[in-house]
Symmetry: C2
Subunit: 213 residues, 2 copies
């Protein structure tokens, strides 16, 4: 009697022998697609399991509940966005190029990871609670990064407190502009991506010039 | 027996003889203050009635329910913001001045009607449903107005389709920048209002220049 234990384990786990480190991201990707298409409430664990080609008990074994699967997806997408922007802004490059590279990476994330962007935006627009703080933290993290990049484009030093405050304001304005432009752009893809990039870069640059007074 | 019917009417209505056209805006203002301070769920009709110095039955007689009072408040605040921006942009003024006046009026609304702005933003960030559409409509209305003002600052005609699309994108970016800067500004009031105005005007102008290519 050689096979039975393995068969039983495979049937119970539903992962068909694929290791968890491989299965988890696959399930998350499918979950993101379904959360983006149907919204949190209408998304079903049955559909997620079926489309990920695993059993529903496996999804529960890995993630615990639909809510925790959703939280894991949002946290992953938010972290990915921030990490990609950080990685894109090569510390060795001149400040203006770094700013440009950071904004380009943001737009690339929106274009390539539409599900992730859509779920992040829908969540930011739909609910309060602990995830609202998570998303506010992500937004603050991006605004801080943009603020640092903007400050670096200012050659003069020292910089007055008022200029510093104004640059902080510009960084938040640029984040809001980027979110709003990205959402508009997904609905109006006729604007070429490089034009969207140039628009945001021009806004950020004009903001810094104005902040310097 | 002269007074009783009048007394009974006054007690039942709770308006103490103040006409509805006067009482309604007073109740709405108090309601806005309490919705802004406590959020929709924690706001109580008892507190709203007490602070508006009317009976709770009167609030229900005028507005029907807490939800309808809330909707009436949001609709009123949204309409007021749009009306103020429209009224501020004098058709006889040069396009750049109109754009400036529209943005200035937006910031004035945020500064003067903090409750209204806060409730609009909290609602936009907190719930789906019919009010989400109402708020998306308000946002679209403001983006259209900004887009028209931006188009008018472009002297050349005719304008290419790509420029038109880019200006539409800039209008949405400016709305997002304005929302985000306004929220940051309320938490960081050390930036003088005229600097916030100049920042947004500079962003809008840079966007148009970039859109024209």
């Amino acid at each position: 009697m050689p096979a039975p234990p393995r068969t039983v384990r495979r049937r119970r786990a539903g992962s068909r022998g694929v290791p968890r480190a491989v299965r988890e991201p696959q399930i998350l990707e499918v979950a993101g697609r379904i959360f983006a298409a149907r919204g949190y409430h209408a998304a079903s664990m049955d559909e997620i399991a079926a489309q990920a080609d695993v059993t529903k008990p496996l999804v529960y074994a890995y993630f615990g509940s639909k809510e925790r699967l959703y939280v894991a997806y949002i946290e992953g997408a938010g972290r990915e966005l921030l990490d990609r922007m950080r990685a894109a802004t090569d510390p060795a490059a001149p400040p203006r190029e770094r700013l440009r590279a950071g904004i380009l990476e943001f737009l690339a994330f929106v274009a390539e990871r539409r599900d992730g962007w859509q779920v992040l935006q829908a969540e930011a627009a739909a609910r309060g609670g602990p995830l609202a703080e998570e998303l506010a933290g992500l937004r603050t993290g991006i605004a801080r990064m943009i603020g640092r990049l903007l400050m670096e484009t200012i050659p003069d030093s020292p910089v007055s407190e008022e200029t510093r405050a104004a640059v902080d304001g510009v960084a938040h304005a640029v984040v809001g502009a980027g979110e709003s432009l990205a959402n508009w752009w997904l609905a109006n893809p006729e604007l070429p991506p490089d034009r969207a990039l140039e628009l945001l870069v021009a806004l950020a640059q004009a903001g810094v010039d104005q902040a310097r007074g």
